[in-house]
């Protein structure tokens, strides 16, 4: 167990900057996620922590020890690979025991340790089998067991669940979170699946093009995204983002999206220093757009139903008003009375408490949603 400090880490492949000035301080026992689209540098960062890739510059410390350019075997980290990296010529027992045999532990100790880990991961029944005879879910468990069996300082996981089907993934999420908390070893987990990161992480690092965009708790990432990219990468369905120009109307400052104006919270506008004439990007999550049957005071924006997607507990209405397309997410009971055929005339309302504004050039958040400013964060 140890903390992990990464300072100004860079990795350059030829002309390509895979990792660009990454700074991370992970506390002992934390479960931290590197989240980002493929090619964003998250796996390269992880491989540099493991020692499989050498940094171009920067410094990596595990438990206060400088390991920047050490070989993997001197770092004492445990790792699970995306395709598990299990040795197919050895049995499951052999696979889990391998790191212990390398350390020349005696047979009895190895057997006890492997037995314990196998119990934790519930794979005692398959210890004598070869990996190629096992389904993906079991392989996953074996790979995790092999990581757990050592008293590693840090656990590293590289998209370990990407080969599991959705159901198993859900199971593994809660199980892995539980195991991580009960063992208490600092863990870095790489994923491109925002749901995995949101549900399991203590803190999430969002990366794009080799750069860290935000390093915060899941709630903070979700409610106070640092950039437009973070806001639309996290959350399902994605946040609606529309081009808008700030304008003055008889009700004060509004965001004019072209087809319709969006009312804003005036106190919030003043606090955020917004001025009329600014060209920005307006963001609002689908759950903060409500749908109504007819245009009126409650639902001022007229729209046409483009597609209707029921998900069971919630209904997704994708609406179109002029050139703008807005996805909404509301509970099935609330929207039971609404039309569900494409082309139905409906109306919508944007909750001014949950409107975000982003810089249209840099994508940085200009104004966080009013509701998120009121100390509701954890």
């Amino acid at each position: 167990m140890a903390d992990l400090t990464i300072s100004s880490l860079n990795k350059v492949f030829g002309n390509f900057r895979a990792v660009d000035d990454v700074n991370i301080a992970v506390r002992d026992g934390e479960f931290v996620f590197l989240l980002g689209p493929s090619g964003c540098g998250k796996t390269t960062t992880l491989r540099m922590i493991a020692g499989l890739e050498m940094p171009s510059s920067g410094r990596i410390e595990i438990g206060g020890r400088n390991v920047t350019f050490l070989r993997p075997r001197h770092r004492n980290v445990g790792m699970v690979f995306q395709d598990y990296g299990l040795y197919r010529h050895m049995t499951v027992f052999g696979n889990i025991a391998y790191p212990l045999q390398v350390r020349q532990m005696d047979k009895a100790t190895i057997a006890t340790k492997v037995g314990e880990v196998a119990r934790t991961m519930q794979i005692e029944a398959i210890l004598k089998k070869k990996p190629d005879k096992l389904p993906a879910g079991q392989l996953q468990r074996v790979a995790i067991a092999r990581m757990l069996v050592r008293d590693a300082n840090i656990f590293l996981m590289d998209e370990p669940m990407s080969h599991l089907d959705a159901q198993l993934r859900g199971q593994m999420r809660s199980e892995l979170k539980h195991i991580q908390k009960s063992i208490g070893t600092t863990t870095i987990f790489v994923t491109h699946d925002q749901l995995e990161a949101m549900t399991m992480a203590d803190r999430i690092i969002v990366m794009k093009d080799g750069r860290m965009l935000q390093f915060a708790t899941p709630r903070e990432i979700f409610e106070r995204p640092a950039t437009e990219f973070v806001s639309s990468f996290v959350g399902e369905p994605q946040m609606n983002v529309l081009d808008c120009v700030l304008a003055t109307s008889d009700r004060g400052l509004v965001a004019d999206c072209g087809a319709f104006p969006v009312a804003l919270d005036q106190a919030w506008c003043t606090a955020s220093g917004l001025r009329p004439g600014q060209t920005l990007r307006l963001g609002i999550r689908p759950e903060h757009v409500s749908v109504g049957a007819a245009t009126g005071a409650d639902h001022p924006v007229e729209a046409e139903l483009y597609s209707f997607e029921p998900t069971g507990a919630e209904n997704l209405y994708v609406l179109r008003a002029g050139a703008c397309e807005v996805t909404t997410r509301n509970s099935t009971t609330d929207t039971a009375h609404l039309g569900k055929t494409e082309g139905t005339r409906l109306a919508m309302r944007f909750d001014p408490e949950w409107v975000y504004l982003f810089d249209s050039g840099t994508g940085r958040t200009v104004a966080q949603a009013a509701a998120s400013n009121r100390g509701s964060r954890s």
Binding site: G51, P72, G85, Y87, R103
Partner: protein
């Protein structure tokens, strides 16, 4: 579309495949291949008179006359041993050296890597006869003519490109993850290579070794020119019985049996490895 008859509907059962005729073709090809060999083997067990008879003799009294002549008078077992030593040793060296070379080409990114692998391939394209004279002169200078080490060195060099080319592909098929995983688990690079990669490569290495062994065993041109008495291998030794005015067919037949029997036995024993090795990385994904 107009040519399709839309009135036809599906039959009640899927059409049955009738490909019994494939076996006829296979049997024909097998007979065509094996019959001449069977004939040569039979000749080997005939006595001189039967073998020289102008009409084919399908029924005869087997005799070991030809084998006796070859083994006891001509001492062909010495050539046999030479062949064995040369092919086993050159296989061992070319596979061992080639393995590391292939590993480097498959795993490491270094300047001129593609050029190296292309150069390795072009070595195979060159007809061996083209370098026969330079090699003869070199061997003469180095006093390697008619010695087993000379042949071993030469065959190792000849087979290396093939080994490198085959194994590079197989190494590429083994994900790096295996080694990386072992290295994170605490192995040095070489330990990871020996304990994880090599066992996974074993079927492919075996298959490559079998091929190389066969190629070395059968090599004729260089063996003919570079050996005379001491290091003569089987192919040139047997060649001696097929030239001249009166060829003794039964002696030639016996010689053919002696040179082919080890290979046939070897392949029969190893065929499972050969097939599994060749299909490595294809069948298993």
């Amino acid at each position: 579309m107009s040519g399709i008859d839309t009135r036809i509907t599906s039959p009640d059962a899927p059409p049955v495949q009738r490909n019994g005729w494939v076996y006829l073709v296979l049997i024909f090809v097998c007979v065509l291949n094996i019959l001449p060999y069977v004939w040569v083997v039979m000749t080997g067990f005939m006595d001189k008179a039967a073998a020289a008879s102008p009409s084919p003799q399908w029924i005869f009294t087997p005799s070991l006359e030809a084998f006796q002549l070859l083994i006891q008078e001509k001492g062909i077992m010495k050539n046999f041993m030479n062949s064995l030593i040369v092919s086993v040793a050159s296989t061992f060296f070319s596979v061992t050296i080639g393995m590391f070379c292939a590993y480097a080409i498959a795993r490491y990114d270094f300047a001129g890597r593609d050029d190296v692998s292309f150069w390795v391939l072009t070595n195979r394209m060159m007809p061996p006869v083209a370098v026969l004279i330079p090699i003869f002169v070199t061997f003469q200078t180095l006093k390697l003519l008619d010695t087993l080490p000379g042949l071993i060195i030469l065959y190792t060099a000849m087979q290396l490109p093939f080994v490198v080319w085959m194994l590079t592909g197989y190494f590429r098929d083994i994900p790096r993850r295996y080694e990386e995983s072992a290295m994170v688990d605490g192995d040095t690079w070489f330990q990871a290579f020996r304990k994880v990669t090599l066992p996974l490569m074993m079927p492919s290495i075996t298959a490559t070794a079998i091929f190389v062994m066969i190629l070395s065993w059968n090599e004729f041109a260089f063996a003919t020119f570079l050996t005379s008495t001491e290091a003569k291998t089987m192919p040139p030794a047997i060649m001696a019985y097929s030239i001249g005015a009166n060829i003794e067919w039964n002696v030639l037949g016996a010689a053919v049996v002696l040179i082919t029997a080890p290979l046939i036995l070897f392949v029969l024993v190893m065929q499972r490895h050969l097939i599994s090795g060749l299909s490595q990385g294809v069948a298993r994904k």
